[in-house]
Every structure is written in structure tokens, then in C-alpha cells.
Symmetry: C2
């Protein structure tokens, strides 16, 4: 759950989602849904309660700073129906971090943590995140969010790692779609996605699409099945007169 | 609503959301929520029904190509409880576009449109999007999505355009938070967001944050109030010993 008017206004490009998705993949956990919600308490509460009831883990980013628009901690407390107050350890961390006289009332806001939550260390700017139940509350600034996430590995009970392969080829989706559908039927344990790419036409040739191709993304927890499916996709691309290329 | 396993896996960075958000802002429409859902029909149906019941407009991206993983049109039909079949005009457009023998069965899939929907023109690769009720179904490839969106201006009853200003300054959030909260109280009709930025420390100085500052983003439909609030924020930054900078 991404909390932030700045994402919904289009001003800030969210990059936390893809970072968290990849980090979870490494641990054998799949990201199943993302919601971006505004800085409005009732919206955060409703989305969080829907998500935490449904999924094993929920990660939130944004809204835990010292200003009036940082309302995530209060919203999480409201969602869990618990009080929120200054957390002694959070106060201690922040008090030690700031120079004398610098631990302002506004900064003290960042030590307000829902009852029953455990702190998540913030090695970058010290103000902690927290986790409560199956919800992990992280900062919105990517560098800080990433540092917080790194400390969470031991909290995540992962499954088998999802492996993937990407094979591209200068084919048209409409030509290979039938063959790909048959392959998907033969490999039900390997999910096959098909992503066409286009390049904008050169000046003066607007409306023409001279370069195109398709990236086929295969995903499976079984390395042998993935490898066999990848070879089948390469054959399919060759059978359509193109050269398969393994891509990242 | 972003439909796509490729976004949830972290492989593809979604950029459609911020494009649509800005396009809507220009028309005086605010993006209120985003959901990213997997290529699973029941998930798409549930999310779409929740969103279309709640908001004036819903835009979907992704899942309208010719391959087996393109299931958005079927899911939209299911969400609206209407049948889906080949749309005569869509068949005509695609038939005219492809060379003889090239209009494959797979490509015909792209002419399957829920009953009662109107087509959205695709000047890039011809396969149309569609709109039904308050839902606009667009392609996932950004270049195609953007071209489709441009044709929709006359369908959107916009409000007053949301104006914004961004003023940055080398201040700490914890220092200005109190003053900013007071300003927000004085300008309830101007939403004030506070977004700290950090730069990674140079090598050898890890753990130190030498450069930081805050961008203050102000948003209002009233240009005079926005301008007055921006001047108040500039004064606030100056009062904290820094030089305000107007930013994009």
C-alpha cells in the first residue's frame, strides 16, 4: 500500500513497488496486489484492513515523517483499533540522534507508534518504521525504505523462489499467440506472459511502426520446467523466422 | 486499475499511472486511487466493480492484446454482467489493417468487445480499446495507451483544474513542520505536502547524509490562494535560514 498524494498527482513516480516486488521474489513471496491511496485517514484505514485481512504480509510506504501530512501511523493504529503513543525506544533513538535542542515537538511525532508494534530500524535518518500484526510500515523516501526493508528478511517466511526467464524475438504477437497458448497448456506450472514492444517511428514516418518484437516472460519455481519451457519458446520464435534472444 | 503480472513481479516499471494522473489533472479531474491487480479474472472483476461503483471514471491499462494472458475484455464483460463477442467495427478496422492472410484467429481476439461498449481508437497499432459505463479500457504499452487517452478528452467532464507549485529549500522537515502545520491551518483550501529528499552519501562516508532538503508541494484550484500560500512558504524557508527555490 503506497500512501501519498504525490504519487496520485503524478508528480512523483513510485519506484518503491517494483523494488519491494523484486525483494519479495528473492524470498519466494509474490506481490499480489498494490493500492495507492491518498493522505486521508479513512482511505488508509479501509485499504489497510482490506489488504491485511487478505494477504500474508502487507507493506506500506510513505507518511511517517514529522509534518501534518504524515498520518500513516495514526491510520494504522485506527485500522488495528489500538491506541497510539510515544514509544520509549523510538524516543531514545531519536533523542540520541539529534543535537541538543534539535529534538523538536514535530520530530517527536515520529516516535508515535501504535500500541503493540515493534520498531523497524532506520539506519539512514533514524526515525523508525514499525510492524504490527502482518503489516510493515516503511518510509516513503526510497533510500530509507530500502534500508528498512533489508532488516526485515528474518520476519518473512518465504516460499520457493520464483524463477524467471525472459526471451525476446522480432515476432508479432498475433503470429505467435496460438502457438504460445498451446505451450502454456503444455506447461501449466510455468506462467507465460507476452509483452510486445514498439519503438516510436522516426520523424516523418509517424504512424508507422518499423521496429517491434515481443518479450516472453516465463516464471516457475521449478528450474527444470522453466528451462524446458524457455527452450520451447526459443523454438517457437525460430519457427516464426526470428532469432531468440535471452534478456534480463 | 493497472492489470498485469509484469508490474507485480517488479519486472516492468509502471509509468502509465503518472501519465494518466497528469493528464487528468490538466482536465480538472483528480486521481483518487490506483490498484494493480494480477492477470486473474476474479481479481480484475472484484477490483473493477469496487472502483467503478465508487469513482466517476475508471481507467484500466493492460491485458487487451491477442495472447492467452490478455483477459481484460472478458473480465470487464463479466464485471458488467454483459456478453462479449466480436465487434463488427473492430473486426473491420483490424481486417483493413492487416495484409491478406495476416488477420489471424489470435488477432481476432482483439475484436472481442463487451456488449454495449464503444470503441476507443488506437492510432498506433489499430487494436481498439473501449469504454463501457464509466470505465475506459486502454492498452498497457505506454505509447499506445497515451495515444488512446488523447482521444478521450471529450468524454471527460472535468472540474476546475488543480494548480500546483513546488518550492524547495535546504531545510529539515523537523524544523519547519510546526510552521508548516500552522500555514496549512491558515490555508485549508491549499493542500500542502512536504517531501524530504536525500542524496546518497559519498563513498567512505556511508551513514552520513550531507545533502538534504524539502520540497513543499502546494495544490489548489484558486490561483490567488495558491500564490499567497507559496509566498508564505517561501517566507517560512527564509525564516529557517535557507533560500527558497521554485521547482517544477
Amino acid at each position: 500500500m503506497v500512501v501519498g498524494d504525490e504519487i496520485l498527482s503524478g508528480r512523483t513516480q513510485d519506484t518503491n513497488t517494483s523494488f519491494i516486488a523484486k525483494w519479495l521474489n528473492e524470498r519466494g513471496v509474490r506481490l499480489c496486489e498494490v493500492r495507492v491511496v491518498p493522505d486521508i485517514q479513512t482511505e488508509i484505514v479501509a485499504a489497510l484492513n482490506a489488504l491485511r485481512g487478505r494477504y500474508d504480509y502487507v507493506f506500506t510506504t510513505g507518511g511517517i515523517g514529522p509534518t501534518h501530512d504524515d498520518i500513516t501511523a495514526d491510520a494504522v493504529a485506527a485500522a488495528f483499533g489500538v491506541p497510539i503513543d510515544y514509544h520509549p525506544q523510538a524516543l531514545e533513538i531519536l533523542n540520541a540522534h539529534y543535537a541538543p535542542g534539535e529534538f523538536t515537538e514535530a520530530r517527536k511525532r515520529m516516535a508515535r507508534i501504535p500500541q503493540g508494534a515493534e520498531l523497524i530500524e532506520n539506519p539512514v535518518s533514524k526515525a523508525p518504521g514499525f510492524h504490527i500484526g502482518n503489516v510493515f510500515v516503511l518510509a516513503g523516501v526510497p533510500m530509507i525504505m530500502q534500508a528498512m526493508l533489508e532488516s526485515l528478511s528474518h520476519h518473512i517466511a518465504g516460499g520457493q523462489k520464483m524463477l524467471s526467464a525472459c526471451i525476446g524475438g522480432a515476432v508479432a504477437e498475433g503470429h505467435v499467440a496460438e502457438a504460445l497458448g498451446i505451450l502454456q497448456g503444455q506447461y501449466p506450472d510455468v506462467s507465460m506472459g507476452s509483452y510486445p514492444y514498439f519503438r516510436p517511428p522516426p520523424r516523418g514516418e509517424e504512424g508507422v511502426l518499423p521496429v517491434y518484437g515481443v518479450n516472453f516472460v516465463l516464471r516457475s519455481i521449478d528450474p527444470e520446467r522453466l528451462s524446458a519451457a524457455a527452450e520451447a519458446v526459443r523454438s517457437m520464435i525460430r519457427a516464426h523466422g526470428a532469432t531468440p534472444e535471452d534478456r534480463d
